[in-house]
Amino acid sequence: MRDKVMLLVEDDPNDEALTLRALAKSRIGTPVIVVRDGAAALDYLFARGEYAARDAAQLPAVMFLDLKLPKIDGFEVLRRVRADERTRLLPIVILTSSNEDRDRLEGYDLGANSYVRKPVESTEFAAAVGQLGLYWLRLNEPAPLWGR
């Protein structure tokens, strides 16, 4: 687990700061890679463009994905990630402001592993992010992506 990273896809700098702060407070210690739009998220995962030098085989332990994103929105990112053999089993948590039924439904339909609405109340928000970090990095056992 030492070489694992988390991928945070978040365009709001304030939300980014609050999320990073909450993760830091939870003392997980896993490096967090932040990308600020859907296209950058896909570039990272498929080691393209800015991330061409990266080893595509090294997937993050989990991706925290916002839905409303510049360039390529969260649903489209989800769709492309699930459609690709290399990333189809990547754990993905939708972390969004929306709790619209149709967004939840579409998120799960497209294969999200979890859907969490960002609480406005800051202690709740910090607790939610902290729990997510602990759960997906410490507790959850990912699928053996490259072991077959």
């Binding site: 939300d15 402001s97 619209e100 960002k118 800051s122």
Partner: protein, 479 residues
């Protein structure tokens, strides 16, 4: 014949008439009667009229009667018979006249019939001219046989410019094309058809719904086409206006939906920052803040959280308005129990007596009715917060039609004077200091009840509790 000869003839006949009548009166013989007939013929032949003949007769009767003193009364029937005989040549002529008159009459009937036909045709023409439909008749070669006044007005042509001509010869090319295109199949196939024809007119394109049918001769062969077309431009415009209005409403709805979506996403994000960074200040820089500063930061956080609740409430309200009703049978007693359990779990320190009438089942949308109970029972929970012995009751008067459901509490209550403001959005009857709230819950309840075709109202007294009643419209009709 001269006048004197005429008089001579009359006198000769009159003299002979007296002689013959006198003879007949005495003898009543056939010969005398034959004489009467002969005199009648002679008179007729000489142009003596029937009235003159009658005059001659009465002169003769007067001349004869003195010589018949013995039997004067017998003269009357005898004279009548004599007159009858003398007039019979006239009568035969009369019959001939009558016969010829009948013949003449026949020709009069023919004339009358012709007049009738003309009148019928004129009537038909008037009727066809008075109608607002465009009517025309074309022969098998497509030449106009008849057009009504509306045709002339609409297409701005005179009858005589059209009759005997084809569309191409009589009308502007675009119009001719439009008409011919729809007439040709009916003429060719000989079966009736209905067509929507759009024709270019001086005030823009007009749409007609045209009924076209072949006219058939005695043998059933089509020899002409008749078209009766009604202008439906206005109706089309109205339809289009309706369609546009509907689209506008749908687009407004979509806009509202994306607006709500934006609120959910974009208004909440800054609130998260306000609350989050206030908290960060308190936690990370707490040692550099005095108590006053910390108190203000708490106010900031409270306000941010309150606004988040307002946004959530508005979203719930808009969701209630736009989601489709999904009616089913709903166990309200069970739902009320679930909601009260939830309230109890979130506020476990409080002893609240809850009374739920069992078996209250309604027809409606399960999710929305749950939202109604959450709001009403939540309010009851909130406003009994200061009661030493809180009591909350749910039930229904099942005997009434429609059924009246109710949520009752013994809490703070409110002044009925303000009852009309109860269900308005952002309307509150208690200050935030007394009882916190958003002022959206009851507006949401009312919206849901209205969507079910029902009614909601309340009865209350300050410090003696409130009862909220609602109906769900005609539930039997919904099932």
């Amino acid at each position: 014949m001269t006048l004197s000869r005429e008089r001579d003839v009359r006198e000769t006949i009159a003299k002979a008439y007296v002689e013959a009548l006198g003879k007949y009166a005495l003898e009543e013989g056939e010969a005398a009667l034959a004489q009467a007939y002969a005199l009648g013929r002679e008179a007729l032949a000489h142009g003596i009229g029937v009235l003159e003949m009658v005059a001659i007769h009465y002169e003769a009767v007067l001349a004869v009667s003195p010589s018949l003193q013995s039997r004067p009364q017998s003269l009357v029937p005898l004279a009548a018979q004599f007159l009858n005989e003398s007039l019979s040549p006239f009568e035969m002529t009369m019959r001939a006249y009558q016969a010829s008159a009948r013949l003449l009459g026949l020709s009069e009937t023919v004339a009358e019939r012709t007049a009738d036909t003309d009148r019928a045709r004129d009537q038909l023409q008037m009727i066809l001219d008075a109608t607002t439909a465009v009517i025309y008749l074309k022969d098998a070669d497509g030449r106009y046989v008849f057009v009504n006044r509306q045709f002339q007005q609409v297409f701005n042509v005179r009858r005589e410019q059209v009759i005997g001509r084809t569309d191409a010869d009589a009308l502007p090319p675009a119009l001719a094309d439009a008409l011919r295109r729809h007439d040709q199949p009916v003429l060719a196939a000989g079966v009736p058809g209905e067509a929507e024809v759009t024709v270019p007119l001086h005030d823009g394109p007009h749409t007609y719904i045209a009924l076209k049918f072949p006219l058939r001769d005695g043998a059933g062969a089509p020899y002409a086409l008749c078209s009766v077309a009604t202008d439906i431009t206005e109706r089309k415009r109205a339809d289009e206006a309706l369609r546009n209005a509907k689209e506008a409403a749908e687009s407004a709805n979509r806009e509202l939906e994306s607006f709500s979506y934006s609120i959910a996403h974009d208004l909440r994000a800054p609130l998260r920052s306000i609350d989050g960074f206030s908290q960060a200040l308190l936690e990370d820089c707490g040692d550099r803040l005095d108590d006053e500063a910390k108190k203000y930061l708490h106010f900031v956080r409270d306000s941010a959280q309150h606004m988040a609740h307002l946004i959530d409430g508005l979203l719930a309200l808009s969701r209630v308005s736009r989601s489709a009703l999904q009616p089913s049978t709903v166990d309200l007693s069970f739902l009320a129990g679930c909601v009260l359990q939830g309230l109890q779990a979130a506020d476990s320190g409080r002893p609240v007596e809850t009374v739920i009438q069992e078996g209250v089942v309604a027809s409606g949308d399960q999710h929305l009715l749950r939202a109604v109970l959450e709001n009403l029972l939540g309010n009851a929970w909130k406003f009994t917060g200061r009661c030493p012995v809180a009591r909350i009751e749910f039930g229904a008067d099942l005997r009434r039609r429609p059924v009246v459901y109710f949520v009752r509490d013994n809490g703070a209550g409110f002044d009925m004077e303000y009852a009309d403001r109860l269900f308005g959005v952002f309307q509150r009857l208690h200050s935030a200091r007394e009882f916190e709230g958003t002022g959206i819950g009851l507006a949401t309840v009312q919206r849901i009840i209205q969507r079910h075709g029902g009614r909601v109202w309340a009865a209350s007294e300050v410090d003696r509790g409130s009862t909220f009643y609602f109906t769900l419209g005609d539930e039997s009709a919904r099932e």
